[in-house]
Structure formats: C-alpha cells, structure tokens
C-alpha cells in the first residue's frame, strides 16, 4: 500500500517532442485513479514512467516514501497489466502467475499458496496447467490480473487492459477489476481512452490532453463541473452541448438573440455556453426554440439531435417521451449552464 506523488514530471523525447508537460499528481493510499484522454495525450507515457519502462526527463516520482526516478522497474514494488496481456507464452498459467515472486526468492510453498489464492479469486483454478494459447481473451486477462495480484505490490498499473475484449466481457471485467481493487485495497493507476471506463471505475479521474493535465477530480466533479470545453466534450456520451454566446448587460445570450439566464459574472463579450443534454426539459411554453432533425432510439432513452438557434444541439429524453422531428419548445433545468472562456476554453 502506498501513496504516489508526481512532482513536475515531464517527458521529452530525443527528437524534442514533449509527450508530457510538467505535471503534478498526488495519488492517495488505496485510491483508484484513472488517466483518460484521446490517443497521443501522454497517458500511457505517464503510466510507463511510473512503471520505470520509460525514463523520466524531469521531476520527481515517489512511490511510498521512496524517490524511484532511477529505481529499476523490478524494484519499484509495482505490478502492471498490459493491453495485450503480455503473458509468457511458454509458461503455464501457474508459472506465469508465480514468475514474479519466484524471482524474488519466494519458497515453493509460498508460490503455490499465493498462486492458488489468486486463482481462486479469479476463477482460474481449473486452468492452472494450461498455456496462454489455450485460453480465451477474458481468461488471459484474468491471468494477467492474477500475475499482478500474486505479487502483492504497493501499486497496480493498468494500461488499457480491457480494450482487446468484446463489449459484454468488458463491462463484466470492469466491475471485477474494480471490486478486486477495493477488496485488496491496493493503490491503482488505470489508463484508458474510454470515458465510460473512467467514469465507472475511478475514485478520481485525471483528464489529459496533448501532454497536459486538463482536470483532476472525482467522476462527478469532472462530469458536472468540467474545467474546460475539452473535458466537457470528452466526458459524457453524448457530450455536453457547447453553444456560441455572449454576455450582454448581465445576461447570458446565445448567438441568435435568445436570453438564457441572468449572469452573476460582471463581464461582457463572447462566451461558450455548455449544457448537458439531460439538463433540458421539453415544455410547450418553454423559452427556447428547438428544431428536432433526428430522433435516436436507444431503448432506455432517446436522443434528439437538432438545432437551437442554428447551432447543433442534443437533448436527452426518457423512454416515455415520444417525439417526432419538428419544432419544439424547451426549458433548462436549474443550474444547467456551464460557462467557458471562448479563447482558452477554461471554465469561468
């Protein structure tokens, strides 16, 4: 068990490309932190620096009380689960899981006991004598998990471990991994590009974009109070509606002239207005005109795609609400507006 702290961690490749800008992250003991962002945002690089598979260009990395910048990956007391499982193809499941502690001088009995324990946890007991090639994708993923558990490390690192699995298995493994981490109480850093995984698994989410931390917060903070337009559009499916608007005499207007609400902020000029699709109510006497173009049927709910004052807009309605394309009136729930600076994209 350990807390992890990254101070001013930076990664610059020899060709001058700055993959990770100086970043500060504090991860508490037992916390499940998810690094999320689009491809090339530096999330994997960050994880690999924590693992020791990538050199740290600048800054200080601590696991527990130890500075581990120059410590060998094998000595960092970490265990990593890779995207394509990275099992040793020539070893049985049992040997795969025991390899790490065997190299750390564990006795035969201890290895057998720990492997049996982990295999029991992961329903792998009957597969212990098989080779990885004789297992399904989900089973291989479990073996990779087992290999990490047997090590009993201070820190789990996950590098997109579910992206090779089909959707159904992914949902199931998501819950299993989370439950397992809860039970073991081991600190975990999990990298994914899937915002659903991030939202469902994380105690805290770190959103990365272009090698920079956009926001650190709980899933709820990230979802309800995105720090920037990037976070607002990346997290949530469908993403937050972002409308062009402006402050006018203490009122937020959207381009086209419709007033949304009085502004508490004392300023004027252009602004980006964010509205979550589910923060909209269909009301025949609502103040805003909404032109529905397409109704997307999703079973449990429906998405109405259309235009608000000629800007793209999406509304989420429940399955009882039947709508057909055409003109509607809508109203906003209380506290539905999020305001962002037009130039920097930062929350105001």
């Amino acid at each position: 068990m350990a807390q992890v702290s990254l101070s001013n961690i930076r990664k610059v490749y020899p060709n001058g490309f700055e993959a990770v800008q100086p970043s500060d992250i504090q991860i508490n003991d037992g916390e499940f932190v998810v690094l999320v962002g689009p491809s090339g945002c530096g999330k994997s690089t960050l994880l690999r620096m924590i693992a020791g598979l990538e050199d740290i260009s600048d800054g200080e990395l601590r696991i527990g009380d130890r500075v581990v910048n120059d410590v060998d990956p094998a000595d960092r007391d970490i265990a990593m689960v890779f995207q394509n499982y990275a099992l040793y193809p020539h070893m049985t499941v049992e040997k795969n899981m025991g390899y790490g502690i065997k190299n750390r001088g564990a006795s035969k009995e201890e290895i057998a006991r720990k492997v049996a324990e982990a295999a029991g946890m992961l329903n792998l007991t009957e597969y212990l004598t098989r080779r990885p090639s004789q297992l399904s994708g989900g089973q291989r993923q479990r073996v990779a998990m087992g290999r990490a558990i047997v090590r009993d490390p201070a820190l789990f690192l996950f590098d997109e471990p579910l992206s090779n699995l089909d959707a159904k298995l992914r949902n199931q493994m998501r819950i299993e991994i989370k439950a397992l981490q809860r039970r073991l109480g081991t600190t975990a850093v999990y990298v994914t590009h899937d915002q659903v995984e991030a939202m469902t698994m994380a105690d805290r989410i770190i959103v990365l974009n272009g090698g920079r931390i956009e926001q650190i917060g709980t899933p709820s903070q990230i979802y309800h109070n995105p720090a920037s337009t990037f976070v607002a559009s990346f997290m949530g499916a469908p993403p937050m509606n972002l409308l062009e608007g402006r402050f006018d005499n203490g009122t937020v207007m959207i381009n086209g002239g419709t007033a949304l609400m009085p502004s508490p902020l004392q300023r004027s000029g252009p602004i980006t207005v964010g509205i979550r699709p589910e923060d909209v109510l269909l009301e025949p006497t609502g103040p805003l005109p909404f032109q529905v173009d397409i109704v997307e049927e999703l079973g449990a709910h429906r998405l109405l795609h259309g235009r608000l004052e000629d800007q793209n807009f999406t509304v989420h309605v429940d399955k009882e609400t039947h709508v057909s394309p055409g003109a509607l009136r809508i109203a906003l729930k209380q506290d539905a507006l999020r305001l962002f600076d037009v130039k920097t994209g930062q929350s105001l």
Partner: protein, 293 residues
C-alpha cells in the same frame, strides 16, 4: 468454403512437371545411381565392375581411417554448430539493443553471408598464413606455433574458425528477427517481474527463441556436414595428407582422387541416410514440441 479444383487431370500434372523433373534428374537419378554403384567394385580405369554385395559397407566399418574421419566429423559439426549459434545469438542480442545506427550495424554483420565458401576458405588461408597471417602472428604472440596444413590440430582449428565465421551471419539474421518478433509488452512484463537481465534472458527470451534456435540447429548441422566442403578444400590446398577432413570430403577424395567409386558411393549412401534421419527428427520431434501458439 468452396474449394477450387482442376477439371482436367493433365493440367496440374503439366504444371508440376518442371519441378518434378528437376528433382528427378538432379536428385533421384544420381541418388539411385549412387545406391546401385555402392554394391559394385569398379575398375579404376572404367572398363567394368563386379557385384560385391555389402562389401563396400562392411569394409568401411573396419576401415580405421574412415572411423577416425567420422569421429572428427562429429566433433567438427558439434563445435561449428555450437560456436556459430552461440556467437550469432550473442551478436543478435547485442544488436537488438543498439538504438543508434542499428541498420548500419546489422548490415555490416550480415555482409559475410554473401561470401562464397571457397572465398571464405581463401581468406582463411591469408589470415592463417604461415609467414604473415595476422591470426598466426597473434597465436605466436600467445606462444602457439601455429602451422596450417602441417599440424592436424592447427588445421582443424582453422577449419572450424573459418566455418563458424562464415555461418554466423545467417544465424544472426534469424536470431535477430526472432528477437524482434517477441512482443515488446512481454519483455516489459519480464522487466517488472525479474530484476536480473540474465535471468530474463534465460527465463523468457531464450525459450521464446527456441523455435528459431531449433530450426537453426538443423540448418547448422547440415551446413557443417555438407556446405563446409569448399572451406575444407581450400584450406587443405588439395593436399589431404594427414590433415583433418569431414565425411563429405572423404567421399570426394575416395571417389575422384582414389577412383574408388564403389566405396565412395557407399559413403554417400550412409550420408543420405544420416540426412534422412535428421529430417525425420526435425519434423517429428522438434516441430511438434517447440511451438507455443
């Protein structure tokens, strides 16, 4: 899935014919001829032959020189195979770690592959030359009075060194591509699981190279048995005398210099059986056991 087939019987036969005829003319026909003449005693001047049954074979088992050459061939094959595999593996592992200038480095190591065996042998002669060969001089510094073509042991050493040197590039190419086909994540997982680089090599990298290594083992034994002929011939300068030689060279020597076609044929039939056994060994035992996926 629909299987495409020929409607006409003669077309596939016609398509196969060139390949089959090449095999028949250049392999089966001479092999059959060798088998036949191994049961005969030929007149040295080509005027006739006498059927002698298995006498050519039984003579060989009693021939002390033949047994000595067979013994040398086993040692020669063993040493050439071992050193060419071991050194190539070492070079491949090191080349795999090179980041800057990797391509140049690899190309330089592969160059030797393009050298024909007699040329390699000739270069060996220059290196081991009695008066100004650099390797001979080096050995003399170490106190070893090296005499190529005179001393049995010294000539054998030179043969083995040149043969190993010639074979390293082939092994290197295969080992390097074998190393590069090991998934990066597997190596990284091993880095986290095992602190010792040597432990990682023997525990993970080497077993994953085993399919390549076994394939190369067969290739190298075949090379040491047969393809070293040019090197041996050049190094001996056509003066076999008391010098070491392999079974293949002995076939040539008895058949073409000694004009004993029957005995020579019997020797080549024995070699054919040896190769057959090697091939069966490769397909039956090794191919089945070493593949993981």
């Amino acid at each position: 899935m629909k299987r495409a087939g020929f409607t006409n019987v003669w077309l596939p036969i016609a398509l196969l014919l060139p390949q089959l005829s090449i095999i028949a003319i250049f392999f089966y026909w001479p092999a059959g001829w060798a088998l036949q003449s191994s049961f005969y005693l030929q007149d040295p001047f080509g005027f006739g032959s006498t059927f002698v049954g298995f006498e050519n074979y039984t003579d060989l088992t009693r021939n002390r020189e033949y047994l000595r050459i067979a013994g040398f061939t086993v040692v020669f094959c063993g040493l050439v195979t071992f050193f060419s595999l071991a050194l190539a593996l070492l070079l491949a592992v090191k080349a795999d770690k090179v980041i800057r200038g990797a391509k140049t480095y690899r190309t330089l190591l592969m160059w030797v592959y393009a050298i024909a065996p007699p040329v390699a042998g000739f270069m060996g002669i220059m290196f081991f030359d009695q008066r100004n060969g650099p390797i001979t001089e080096f050995f003399q510094v170490l106190g070893w009075d090296f005499k190529l073509g005179v001393n049995y042991f010294d000539t054998a050493t030179a043969m083995i060194m040149v043969s190993v040197w010639k074979q390293i590039p082939v092994n290197f190419i295969f080992f390097l591509s074998g190393l590069q086909s090991i998934p990066r994540a597997v190596r990284e997982a091993a880095m986290i699981d095992n602190r010792s680089a040597a432990g990682r090599f023997w525990g993970v990298t080497f077993p994953l190279l085993a399919p390549t290594a076994f394939f190369l083992l067969i290739i190298n034994i075949t090379y040491a048995l047969f393809d070293t002929f040019g090197i041996i011939d050049t190094l001996m300068k056509g003066e076999p005398g008391n010098n070491p030689m392999t079974l293949v060279y002995k076939v040539y020597l008895d058949g073409f210099r000694g004009n004993d076609l029957g005995g020579s044929s019997a020797q080549s039939v024995i070699l054919m059986i040896l190769v057959l056994a090697l091939t069966v060994f490769q397909f039956r035992l090794i191919e089945r056991r070493i593949h993981y996926t």
